[in-house]
Protein backbone atom coordinates (compact mmCIF):
# COMPACT_ATOMS: atom_id res chain seq x y z
CA UNK A 1 0.00 0.00 0.00
CA UNK A 2 1.36 3.37 -1.07
CA UNK A 3 0.08 6.73 0.21
CA UNK A 4 0.89 10.02 -1.50
CA UNK A 5 -0.40 13.57 -1.77
CA UNK A 6 -2.68 14.22 -4.75
CA UNK A 7 -2.65 17.97 -5.17
CA UNK A 8 -2.93 20.14 -2.04
CA UNK A 9 -6.24 18.82 -0.65
CA UNK A 10 -6.28 15.09 -1.45
CA UNK A 11 -4.30 11.88 -1.11
CA UNK A 12 -4.16 8.70 -3.15
CA UNK A 13 -3.82 5.26 -1.60
CA UNK A 14 -2.61 2.80 -4.23
CA UNK A 15 -2.30 -0.96 -3.94
CA UNK A 16 0.33 -2.64 -6.03
CA UNK A 17 -1.68 -5.70 -7.02
CA UNK A 18 -4.03 -6.55 -9.88
CA UNK A 19 -7.71 -5.62 -9.61
CA UNK A 20 -9.81 -8.33 -8.03
CA UNK A 21 -12.99 -8.41 -5.94
CA UNK A 22 -11.24 -9.13 -2.65
CA UNK A 23 -9.16 -5.97 -3.13
CA UNK A 24 -12.32 -4.02 -4.05
CA UNK A 25 -13.83 -5.00 -0.69
CA UNK A 26 -10.72 -3.70 1.08
CA UNK A 27 -11.00 -0.44 -0.91
CA UNK A 28 -14.63 -0.13 0.23
CA UNK A 29 -13.50 -0.54 3.85
CA UNK A 30 -10.80 2.05 3.38
CA UNK A 31 -13.35 4.41 1.83
CA UNK A 32 -15.69 4.04 4.82
CA UNK A 33 -12.74 4.56 7.19
CA UNK A 34 -11.54 7.66 5.33
CA UNK A 35 -14.99 9.30 5.29
CA UNK A 36 -15.00 9.17 9.11
CA UNK A 37 -11.78 11.21 9.40
CA UNK A 38 -12.62 14.82 10.35
CA UNK A 39 -12.31 17.14 7.36
CA UNK A 40 -12.61 14.42 4.68
CA UNK A 41 -15.38 15.29 2.20
CA UNK A 42 -15.06 12.64 -0.50
CA UNK A 43 -13.44 9.25 -1.16
CA UNK A 44 -13.50 7.70 -4.64
CA UNK A 45 -12.72 4.10 -5.52
CA UNK A 46 -10.73 3.06 -8.59
CA UNK A 47 -9.63 -0.42 -9.70
CA UNK A 48 -6.78 -0.56 -7.17
CA UNK A 49 -6.83 2.94 -5.62
CA UNK A 50 -8.80 5.17 -3.29
CA UNK A 51 -8.67 8.96 -3.71
CA UNK A 52 -9.41 10.82 -0.47
CA UNK A 53 -10.31 14.51 -0.69
CA UNK A 54 -10.60 16.94 2.21
CA UNK A 55 -11.89 20.42 2.85
CA UNK A 56 -9.18 22.76 1.51
CA UNK A 57 -9.89 25.41 4.16
CA UNK A 58 -10.65 23.71 7.46
CA UNK A 59 -9.05 20.25 7.30
CA UNK A 60 -5.68 19.28 8.78
CA UNK A 61 -3.78 17.51 5.96
CA UNK A 62 -1.03 16.09 8.21
CA UNK A 63 -3.54 14.55 10.59
CA UNK A 64 -5.54 13.03 7.74
CA UNK A 65 -2.40 11.58 6.12
CA UNK A 66 -1.41 10.05 9.47
CA UNK A 67 -4.87 8.56 9.98
CA UNK A 68 -4.75 7.05 6.49
CA UNK A 69 -1.29 5.62 7.22
CA UNK A 70 -2.69 3.99 10.36
CA UNK A 71 -5.47 2.19 8.51
CA UNK A 72 -5.46 -1.60 8.71
CA UNK A 73 -7.76 -3.87 6.72
CA UNK A 74 -10.30 -5.65 8.88
CA UNK A 75 -12.10 -8.89 8.35
CA UNK A 76 -13.91 -8.60 5.02
CA UNK A 77 -16.99 -10.19 6.65
CA UNK A 78 -17.84 -6.75 8.01
CA UNK A 79 -18.64 -5.48 4.51
CA UNK A 80 -22.09 -5.44 2.98
CA UNK A 81 -22.40 -8.87 1.32
CA UNK A 82 -21.81 -8.76 -2.44
CA UNK A 83 -24.91 -8.82 -4.56
CA UNK A 84 -25.34 -10.39 -7.96
CA UNK A 85 -27.39 -8.44 -10.51
CA UNK A 86 -29.00 -10.03 -13.57
CA UNK A 87 -29.58 -7.60 -16.41
CA UNK A 88 -31.84 -8.66 -19.30
CA UNK A 89 -30.41 -7.79 -22.72
CA UNK A 90 -31.90 -7.72 -26.21
CA UNK A 91 -28.83 -8.68 -28.25
CA UNK A 92 -28.36 -7.70 -31.90
CA UNK A 93 -30.72 -6.09 -34.40
CA UNK A 94 -31.45 -2.41 -33.89
CA UNK A 95 -30.62 -2.88 -30.20
CA UNK A 96 -27.09 -4.05 -30.98
CA UNK A 97 -26.02 -2.58 -34.33
CA UNK A 98 -22.38 -3.67 -33.88
CA UNK A 99 -23.03 -7.31 -32.92
CA UNK A 100 -22.27 -8.52 -36.45
CA UNK A 101 -19.10 -6.44 -36.61
CA UNK A 102 -17.81 -7.95 -33.36
CA UNK A 103 -18.67 -11.45 -34.62
CA UNK A 104 -16.90 -10.86 -37.96
CA UNK A 105 -13.87 -9.37 -36.24
CA UNK A 106 -13.40 -12.57 -34.22
CA UNK A 107 -14.51 -14.95 -37.01
CA UNK A 108 -17.36 -16.34 -34.94
CA UNK A 109 -21.15 -16.18 -35.27
CA UNK A 110 -23.30 -13.52 -33.56
CA UNK A 111 -24.84 -16.35 -31.50
CA UNK A 112 -21.36 -17.29 -30.25
CA UNK A 113 -20.69 -13.66 -29.26
CA UNK A 114 -23.93 -13.67 -27.24
CA UNK A 115 -23.07 -17.02 -25.65
CA UNK A 116 -19.60 -15.81 -24.68
CA UNK A 117 -20.79 -12.41 -23.41
CA UNK A 118 -23.83 -13.47 -21.39
CA UNK A 119 -24.35 -15.80 -18.45
CA UNK A 120 -21.14 -14.99 -16.60
CA UNK A 121 -20.47 -12.82 -13.57
CA UNK A 122 -18.65 -9.55 -14.29
CA UNK A 123 -17.14 -7.90 -11.19
CA UNK A 124 -17.92 -4.19 -10.70
CA UNK A 125 -14.63 -2.48 -9.86
CA UNK A 126 -15.71 1.15 -9.82
CA UNK A 127 -18.35 3.66 -10.98
CA UNK A 128 -17.49 6.67 -13.13
CA UNK A 129 -17.84 8.34 -16.57
CA UNK A 130 -21.53 9.00 -15.88
CA UNK A 131 -24.12 8.31 -13.19
CA UNK A 132 -24.23 4.54 -12.65
CA UNK A 133 -21.69 3.58 -15.31
CA UNK A 134 -19.90 0.49 -13.96
CA UNK A 135 -16.32 -0.35 -14.89
CA UNK A 136 -16.45 -4.16 -15.17
CA UNK A 137 -13.73 -6.78 -15.26
CA UNK A 138 -13.79 -10.25 -16.71
CA UNK A 139 -14.58 -9.82 -20.42
CA UNK A 140 -13.42 -13.06 -22.11
CA UNK A 141 -10.27 -12.45 -24.13
CA UNK A 142 -11.94 -13.86 -27.27
CA UNK A 143 -14.25 -10.81 -27.23
CA UNK A 144 -11.58 -8.10 -26.81
CA UNK A 145 -12.32 -5.73 -29.71
CA UNK A 146 -10.53 -2.46 -30.59
CA UNK A 147 -12.79 0.58 -30.11
CA UNK A 148 -14.60 2.20 -33.03
CA UNK A 149 -12.34 4.52 -35.00
CA UNK A 150 -14.84 7.35 -34.59
CA UNK A 151 -16.99 7.53 -31.47
CA UNK A 152 -20.77 7.84 -31.77
CA UNK A 153 -22.18 11.21 -30.71
CA UNK A 154 -25.08 9.43 -29.03
CA UNK A 155 -25.11 5.92 -27.63
CA UNK A 156 -28.72 5.20 -26.57
CA UNK A 157 -29.51 4.67 -22.92
CA UNK A 158 -29.32 1.00 -21.89
CA UNK A 159 -26.81 0.05 -24.60
CA UNK A 160 -24.55 -2.90 -23.77
CA UNK A 161 -21.18 -2.51 -25.42
CA UNK A 162 -17.64 -3.80 -25.81
CA UNK A 163 -14.59 -1.50 -26.03
CA UNK A 164 -11.07 -2.95 -26.01
CA UNK A 165 -10.84 -5.37 -23.10
CA UNK A 166 -13.86 -3.83 -21.36
CA UNK A 167 -17.60 -4.29 -21.46
CA UNK A 168 -20.35 -2.25 -19.87
CA UNK A 169 -23.83 -0.82 -20.06
CA UNK A 170 -24.62 2.88 -20.64
CA UNK A 171 -27.18 4.03 -18.01
CA UNK A 172 -28.01 7.22 -19.97
CA UNK A 173 -27.62 8.61 -23.48
CA UNK A 174 -23.96 9.57 -23.90
CA UNK A 175 -21.25 9.79 -26.50
CA UNK A 176 -19.20 6.61 -26.76
CA UNK A 177 -16.64 4.72 -28.83
CA UNK A 178 -17.53 1.19 -27.84
CA UNK A 179 -19.27 -1.42 -30.04
CA UNK A 180 -22.96 -1.71 -29.17
CA UNK A 181 -24.04 -5.37 -29.11
CA UNK A 182 -27.36 -5.10 -27.26
CA UNK A 183 -29.63 -3.05 -25.07
CA UNK A 184 -31.31 -3.53 -21.72
CA UNK A 185 -34.84 -2.20 -21.20
CA UNK A 186 -34.08 -1.85 -17.47
CA UNK A 187 -33.78 1.64 -16.00
CA UNK A 188 -30.42 1.44 -14.19
CA UNK A 189 -30.41 4.79 -12.39
CA UNK A 190 -32.90 7.07 -10.67
CA UNK A 191 -31.38 10.37 -9.50
CA UNK A 192 -34.47 11.12 -7.39
CA UNK A 193 -33.95 7.93 -5.40
CA UNK A 194 -31.40 7.39 -2.62
CA UNK A 195 -29.23 5.60 -3.56
CA UNK A 196 -29.63 6.50 -7.25
CA UNK A 197 -27.87 3.29 -8.30
CA UNK A 198 -28.57 -0.14 -6.78
CA UNK A 199 -25.21 -1.79 -7.43
CA UNK A 200 -21.91 -0.79 -5.87
CA UNK A 201 -18.28 -1.76 -6.48
CA UNK A 202 -17.72 -5.30 -5.26
CA UNK A 203 -21.04 -6.56 -6.71
CA UNK A 204 -21.26 -8.67 -9.87
CA UNK A 205 -23.36 -8.19 -13.00
CA UNK A 206 -24.64 -10.89 -15.35
CA UNK A 207 -26.18 -10.21 -18.75
CA UNK A 208 -29.16 -12.45 -19.50
CA UNK A 209 -30.24 -12.72 -23.17
CA UNK A 210 -33.95 -12.12 -23.70
CA UNK A 211 -36.01 -12.14 -26.88
CA UNK A 212 -38.12 -9.20 -27.93
CA UNK A 213 -41.52 -9.54 -29.63
CA UNK A 214 -39.95 -8.62 -32.95
CA UNK A 215 -37.58 -11.62 -32.60
CA UNK A 216 -40.45 -14.00 -31.79
CA UNK A 217 -42.49 -12.88 -34.78
CA UNK A 218 -39.71 -13.21 -37.29
Amino acid sequence: MELYSYGDHAAMIAFNEPAHLELTHRLLQLRTYALQIPGVINALIGYTTVLVEWDPVSADPEMIMQDLRDWRSEDIQGNRPSRHWQIPVFYGGTNGPDLNHVAKYHHITPGEVIALHSRRPYPIYCLGFSLGFAYLGGLPETLHTPRRTSPRIRVPKGSVAIGGHQTGVYPSDSPGGWHIIGRTPIQLTNPAHEPPVSYIPGDTIEFVPVQGLQDLNS
Binding site: M12, L44, L51, E53, F129, G132, S172
Partner: protein
Protein backbone atom coordinates in the same frame (compact mmCIF):
# COMPACT_ATOMS: atom_id res chain seq x y z
CA UNK B 1 -43.84 32.81 -4.50
CA UNK B 2 -42.59 34.72 -7.49
CA UNK B 3 -40.88 33.66 -10.68
CA UNK B 4 -38.72 34.79 -13.58
CA UNK B 5 -39.73 34.09 -17.17
CA UNK B 6 -37.07 33.24 -19.73
CA UNK B 7 -37.52 35.22 -22.96
CA UNK B 8 -34.20 34.40 -24.61
CA UNK B 9 -32.22 31.62 -22.90
CA UNK B 10 -29.00 32.03 -24.90
CA UNK B 11 -26.89 28.91 -25.37
CA UNK B 12 -26.57 26.31 -22.61
CA UNK B 13 -27.66 28.66 -19.81
CA UNK B 14 -28.14 26.43 -16.78
CA UNK B 15 -28.84 26.52 -13.06
CA UNK B 16 -25.68 25.77 -11.07
CA UNK B 17 -24.61 25.80 -7.44
CA UNK B 18 -21.61 24.66 -5.38
CA UNK B 19 -21.80 21.14 -6.80
CA UNK B 20 -22.70 17.73 -5.40
CA UNK B 21 -19.57 16.00 -4.16
CA UNK B 22 -21.62 13.22 -2.49
CA UNK B 23 -22.93 12.09 -5.90
CA UNK B 24 -19.45 11.19 -7.12
CA UNK B 25 -19.52 7.78 -5.40
CA UNK B 26 -22.29 6.88 -7.89
CA UNK B 27 -20.30 7.95 -10.93
CA UNK B 28 -21.83 11.41 -11.49
CA UNK B 29 -19.50 14.41 -11.43
CA UNK B 30 -19.85 17.14 -8.80
CA UNK B 31 -20.47 19.82 -11.41
CA UNK B 32 -21.42 23.23 -10.08
CA UNK B 33 -20.43 26.78 -10.97
CA UNK B 34 -16.97 26.80 -12.54
CA UNK B 35 -15.90 30.31 -11.48
CA UNK B 36 -16.59 30.03 -7.75
CA UNK B 37 -15.35 33.59 -7.23
CA UNK B 38 -17.92 35.28 -9.48
CA UNK B 39 -20.56 32.79 -8.30
CA UNK B 40 -19.95 33.72 -4.63
CA UNK B 41 -19.90 37.39 -5.50
CA UNK B 42 -23.31 37.13 -7.24
CA UNK B 43 -24.76 35.48 -4.11
CA UNK B 44 -23.27 38.15 -1.86
CA UNK B 45 -24.64 40.99 -3.97
CA UNK B 46 -28.16 39.55 -3.67
CA UNK B 47 -27.88 38.91 0.10
CA UNK B 48 -28.64 35.25 -0.66
CA UNK B 49 -28.18 32.59 2.00
CA UNK B 50 -25.79 29.79 1.08
CA UNK B 51 -28.60 27.26 1.55
CA UNK B 52 -30.37 28.74 -1.46
CA UNK B 53 -27.31 28.80 -3.58
CA UNK B 54 -28.69 28.11 -7.06
CA UNK B 55 -27.79 30.71 -9.72
CA UNK B 56 -27.76 30.85 -13.52
CA UNK B 57 -24.44 30.20 -15.24
CA UNK B 58 -24.20 31.88 -18.66
CA UNK B 59 -21.69 31.14 -21.40
CA UNK B 60 -23.39 33.23 -24.10
CA UNK B 61 -25.37 36.41 -24.54
CA UNK B 62 -27.65 38.15 -24.84
CA UNK B 63 -29.86 36.32 -22.34
CA UNK B 64 -33.23 37.97 -21.57
CA UNK B 65 -35.20 37.40 -18.39
CA UNK B 66 -38.40 39.00 -17.08
CA UNK B 67 -39.00 39.03 -13.30
CA UNK B 68 -42.67 38.72 -12.43
CA UNK B 69 -42.28 40.96 -9.38
CA UNK B 70 -39.77 43.55 -8.26
CA UNK B 71 -36.77 41.61 -6.91
CA UNK B 72 -33.12 42.03 -5.88
CA UNK B 73 -30.85 40.46 -8.51
CA UNK B 74 -27.17 40.60 -9.49
CA UNK B 75 -25.06 39.77 -12.51
CA UNK B 76 -21.34 39.09 -12.29
CA UNK B 77 -19.18 38.78 -15.40
CA UNK B 78 -21.46 40.75 -17.77
CA UNK B 79 -23.45 43.99 -18.10
CA UNK B 80 -27.24 44.19 -17.96
CA UNK B 81 -29.41 46.34 -20.21
CA UNK B 82 -32.69 47.49 -18.64
CA UNK B 83 -35.27 50.03 -19.83
CA UNK B 84 -33.69 52.49 -17.33
CA UNK B 85 -30.17 52.09 -18.72
CA UNK B 86 -27.14 49.83 -18.59
CA UNK B 87 -26.09 48.37 -15.25
CA UNK B 88 -22.37 47.67 -14.92
CA UNK B 89 -20.79 44.30 -14.15
CA UNK B 90 -20.87 43.04 -10.53
CA UNK B 91 -23.84 45.07 -9.33
CA UNK B 92 -26.74 44.03 -7.11
CA UNK B 93 -29.89 45.99 -8.07
CA UNK B 94 -33.67 46.05 -7.76
CA UNK B 95 -35.09 44.70 -11.00
CA UNK B 96 -38.55 46.22 -11.71
CA UNK B 97 -41.52 43.90 -12.21
CA UNK B 98 -42.37 42.81 -15.77
CA UNK B 99 -39.48 44.60 -17.45
CA UNK B 100 -36.87 42.69 -19.41
CA UNK B 101 -33.29 42.31 -18.16
CA UNK B 102 -30.96 41.73 -21.08
CA UNK B 103 -27.66 40.25 -19.94
CA UNK B 104 -24.80 40.89 -22.33
CA UNK B 105 -22.38 38.30 -23.60
CA UNK B 106 -20.03 37.42 -20.70
CA UNK B 107 -16.94 39.65 -20.59
CA UNK B 108 -14.86 36.48 -20.42
CA UNK B 109 -16.12 32.89 -20.65
CA UNK B 110 -18.77 32.76 -17.91
CA UNK B 111 -21.19 35.06 -16.10
CA UNK B 112 -23.61 34.49 -13.22
CA UNK B 113 -27.14 35.70 -12.49
CA UNK B 114 -28.34 35.45 -8.89
CA UNK B 115 -31.66 36.40 -7.33
CA UNK B 116 -32.41 37.14 -3.67
CA UNK B 117 -33.87 33.99 -2.11
CA UNK B 118 -32.44 31.75 -4.81
CA UNK B 119 -34.12 29.56 -7.42
CA UNK B 120 -36.66 27.18 -5.98
CA UNK B 121 -35.59 24.01 -7.77
CA UNK B 122 -35.40 20.65 -6.08
CA UNK B 123 -32.15 19.44 -4.58
CA UNK B 124 -31.21 16.18 -6.33
CA UNK B 125 -28.42 14.01 -4.91
CA UNK B 126 -27.39 16.86 -2.65
CA UNK B 127 -27.28 19.67 -5.21
CA UNK B 128 -29.53 22.06 -7.17
CA UNK B 129 -27.17 22.37 -10.13
CA UNK B 130 -27.89 20.98 -13.60
CA UNK B 131 -26.23 17.70 -14.50
CA UNK B 132 -26.50 18.21 -18.24
CA UNK B 133 -24.93 14.85 -19.18
CA UNK B 134 -27.13 12.79 -16.87
CA UNK B 135 -30.22 14.98 -17.36
CA UNK B 136 -31.08 15.72 -13.73
CA UNK B 137 -30.96 18.63 -11.28
CA UNK B 138 -31.40 22.30 -12.10
CA UNK B 139 -34.53 23.19 -14.08
CA UNK B 140 -35.91 19.89 -15.48
CA UNK B 141 -32.33 18.58 -15.82
CA UNK B 142 -31.63 20.70 -18.91
CA UNK B 143 -30.48 24.11 -20.18
CA UNK B 144 -33.10 26.87 -20.19
CA UNK B 145 -35.64 27.23 -23.01
CA UNK B 146 -37.79 30.20 -24.05
CA UNK B 147 -40.92 30.41 -21.89
CA UNK B 148 -39.45 28.61 -18.86
CA UNK B 149 -40.81 30.01 -15.59
CA UNK B 150 -38.11 29.78 -12.92
CA UNK B 151 -39.62 29.77 -9.42
CA UNK B 152 -37.96 31.96 -6.77
CA UNK B 153 -37.80 31.16 -3.07
CA UNK B 154 -39.02 33.91 -0.76
CA UNK B 155 -36.18 35.22 1.39
CA UNK B 156 -36.08 37.65 4.31
CA UNK B 157 -36.60 41.25 3.12
CA UNK B 158 -33.35 42.49 1.51
CA UNK B 159 -31.47 45.28 3.28
CA UNK B 160 -30.61 47.15 0.08
CA UNK B 161 -32.81 50.29 -0.11
CA UNK B 162 -34.81 50.76 -3.29
CA UNK B 163 -33.09 52.91 -5.86
CA UNK B 164 -29.60 51.92 -4.69
CA UNK B 165 -27.03 49.46 -5.97
CA UNK B 166 -24.86 46.99 -4.09
CA UNK B 167 -21.17 46.49 -4.84
CA UNK B 168 -18.29 44.59 -3.29
CA UNK B 169 -14.61 45.33 -2.90
CA UNK B 170 -14.13 42.04 -4.81
CA UNK B 171 -15.88 43.58 -7.80
CA UNK B 172 -12.67 45.01 -9.21
CA UNK B 173 -11.42 42.10 -11.27
CA UNK B 174 -7.72 41.32 -10.88
CA UNK B 175 -5.48 42.71 -13.59
CA UNK B 176 -6.10 40.06 -16.21
CA UNK B 177 -4.24 41.48 -19.17
CA UNK B 178 -1.66 39.14 -20.58
CA UNK B 179 -1.23 35.44 -20.23
CA UNK B 180 -2.74 33.56 -17.30
CA UNK B 181 -0.30 31.49 -15.26
CA UNK B 182 -1.83 28.50 -13.49
CA UNK B 183 -0.08 27.51 -10.27
CA UNK B 184 0.09 23.76 -9.67
CA UNK B 185 1.79 21.10 -7.59
CA UNK B 186 3.63 18.27 -9.31
CA UNK B 187 2.09 14.81 -9.30
CA UNK B 188 3.67 12.17 -7.09
CA UNK B 189 5.06 10.10 -9.99
CA UNK B 190 6.53 13.10 -11.79
CA UNK B 191 9.99 11.56 -11.53
CA UNK B 192 8.88 9.33 -14.39
CA UNK B 193 9.40 12.44 -16.48
CA UNK B 194 12.88 13.64 -17.41
CA UNK B 195 13.99 17.00 -15.96
CA UNK B 196 14.00 18.37 -19.50
CA UNK B 197 10.37 17.33 -19.95
CA UNK B 198 9.39 19.00 -16.69
CA UNK B 199 11.27 22.14 -17.75
CA UNK B 200 9.45 22.09 -21.06
CA UNK B 201 6.09 21.86 -19.31
CA UNK B 202 6.68 24.86 -17.06
CA UNK B 203 8.31 27.01 -19.74
CA UNK B 204 5.73 26.30 -22.46
CA UNK B 205 2.85 28.53 -23.52
CA UNK B 206 -0.38 26.71 -24.29
CA UNK B 207 -3.55 27.77 -26.06
CA UNK B 208 -7.10 26.78 -25.16
CA UNK B 209 -8.44 24.32 -27.73
CA UNK B 210 -12.00 25.04 -28.99
CA UNK B 211 -13.12 21.57 -27.82
CA UNK B 212 -12.71 22.67 -24.19
CA UNK B 213 -15.86 22.66 -22.05
CA UNK B 214 -16.97 22.33 -18.43
CA UNK B 215 -15.37 18.88 -18.26
CA UNK B 216 -11.88 19.92 -19.25
CA UNK B 217 -9.61 22.56 -20.74
CA UNK B 218 -7.84 20.97 -23.67
CA UNK B 219 -4.52 22.64 -24.42
CA UNK B 220 -2.53 23.09 -27.61
CA UNK B 221 1.18 23.68 -27.60
CA UNK B 222 4.45 21.91 -28.31
CA UNK B 223 3.49 18.35 -27.38
CA UNK B 224 5.39 16.83 -24.48
CA UNK B 225 7.19 13.68 -25.55
CA UNK B 226 6.32 11.11 -22.94
CA UNK B 227 6.97 7.44 -22.74
CA UNK B 228 3.54 6.01 -22.04
CA UNK B 229 3.07 2.81 -20.19
CA UNK B 230 0.50 0.72 -22.06
CA UNK B 231 -1.01 -0.66 -18.88
CA UNK B 232 -1.92 2.59 -17.11
CA UNK B 233 -4.98 1.66 -15.09
CA UNK B 234 -7.77 4.24 -14.90
CA UNK B 235 -7.86 6.06 -11.55
CA UNK B 236 -10.13 8.51 -9.75
CA UNK B 237 -9.32 12.12 -10.68
CA UNK B 238 -10.23 15.56 -9.31
CA UNK B 239 -11.01 18.94 -10.82
CA UNK B 240 -7.58 20.51 -11.32
CA UNK B 241 -5.84 17.29 -12.24
CA UNK B 242 -3.56 17.83 -15.25
CA UNK B 243 -3.56 14.72 -17.44
CA UNK B 244 -1.17 13.88 -20.22
CA UNK B 245 -2.74 11.84 -23.04
CA UNK B 246 -0.53 10.03 -25.58
CA UNK B 247 -0.64 13.01 -28.01
CA UNK B 248 1.37 15.04 -25.47
CA UNK B 249 -1.17 17.90 -25.18
CA UNK B 250 -2.11 18.41 -21.52
CA UNK B 251 -5.72 18.40 -20.31
CA UNK B 252 -6.81 20.32 -17.19
CA UNK B 253 -9.88 18.66 -15.67
CA UNK B 254 -12.76 20.84 -14.47
CA UNK B 255 -15.77 20.25 -12.17
CA UNK B 256 -17.88 18.41 -14.79
CA UNK B 257 -15.15 15.83 -15.48
CA UNK B 258 -15.80 12.09 -15.27
CA UNK B 259 -14.67 10.86 -11.85
CA UNK B 260 -12.37 8.21 -13.36
CA UNK B 261 -9.53 9.20 -15.70
CA UNK B 262 -7.53 7.05 -18.07
CA UNK B 263 -4.42 9.20 -18.61
CA UNK B 264 -1.41 9.64 -16.31
CA UNK B 265 -1.55 12.80 -14.17
CA UNK B 266 1.42 15.15 -14.17
CA UNK B 267 0.19 17.79 -11.74
CA UNK B 268 -2.69 19.47 -9.94
CA UNK B 269 -3.80 23.07 -10.50
CA UNK B 270 -4.70 24.87 -7.26
CA UNK B 271 -8.39 25.63 -6.74
CA UNK B 272 -8.33 29.47 -7.00
CA UNK B 273 -6.47 29.24 -10.30
CA UNK B 274 -9.11 26.82 -11.61
CA UNK B 275 -11.69 29.56 -11.05
CA UNK B 276 -9.61 31.83 -13.29
CA UNK B 277 -8.94 29.04 -15.80
CA UNK B 278 -12.71 28.57 -16.16
CA UNK B 279 -12.85 32.11 -17.59
CA UNK B 280 -10.47 31.35 -20.47
CA UNK B 281 -11.99 31.33 -23.94
CA UNK B 282 -10.75 29.27 -26.91
CA UNK B 283 -7.50 30.67 -28.27
CA UNK B 284 -6.48 32.30 -24.96
CA UNK B 285 -2.96 31.45 -23.84
CA UNK B 286 -1.74 30.20 -20.51
CA UNK B 287 1.30 28.75 -18.80
CA UNK B 288 2.04 26.77 -15.65
CA UNK B 289 4.09 27.52 -12.54
CA UNK B 290 5.07 24.83 -10.04
CA UNK B 291 4.64 25.65 -6.34
CA UNK B 292 5.05 23.63 -3.15
CA UNK B 293 2.23 21.89 -1.31
CA UNK B 294 2.60 24.33 1.60
CA UNK B 295 2.33 27.35 -0.74
CA UNK B 296 -0.64 25.79 -2.53
CA UNK B 297 -2.49 25.21 0.75
CA UNK B 298 -1.86 28.73 1.97
CA UNK B 299 -2.92 30.41 -1.28
CA UNK B 300 -6.10 28.32 -1.43
CA UNK B 301 -7.05 29.08 2.20
CA UNK B 302 -6.52 32.79 1.71
CA UNK B 303 -8.58 32.77 -1.50
CA UNK B 304 -11.57 31.16 0.23
CA UNK B 305 -11.23 33.44 3.26
CA UNK B 306 -11.11 36.51 1.03
CA UNK B 307 -14.39 35.46 -0.59
CA UNK B 308 -16.01 34.66 2.76
CA UNK B 309 -15.08 37.96 4.38
CA UNK B 310 -15.49 40.36 1.44
CA UNK B 311 -17.64 43.30 2.45
CA UNK B 312 -20.37 44.86 0.33
CA UNK B 313 -21.49 48.48 0.23
CA UNK B 314 -24.25 50.40 -1.50
CA UNK B 315 -24.12 53.44 -3.79
CA UNK B 316 -26.69 55.50 -5.69
CA UNK B 317 -27.65 54.15 -9.11
CA UNK B 318 -25.38 55.32 -11.88
CA UNK B 319 -26.34 53.81 -15.22
CA UNK B 320 -23.67 53.44 -17.90
CA UNK B 321 -24.11 55.19 -21.22
CA UNK B 322 -25.40 52.84 -23.89
Amino acid sequence: MSDIVVLNPGVLTMIQDTGRVAAEQYGASRGGALDFRLYSLALRLTETQTANDAVLELISGPVSLVPHDEMLVAVTGANVRTPQGIIPDCTGFWAPANQPLVISRPHKARAYFAVHGGFDVQSVLGGRGTDFRNHFGGFCGRPLKPGDRLPILAGPPPKLPHGRWRHSNLSESPNSSGRLCLRFTWHHSVNNFLPSQRDQFISATYRIDPHSDGMALRLQGTPLKVRHSEDFLSQPVLPGTIQLPPDGNPIVLLAHRGTIGGYPPIGHVIIPDLWRAAQLTPGASLSFAAISLAEARQITRIAYQTLATAATYSTPQQFLDP
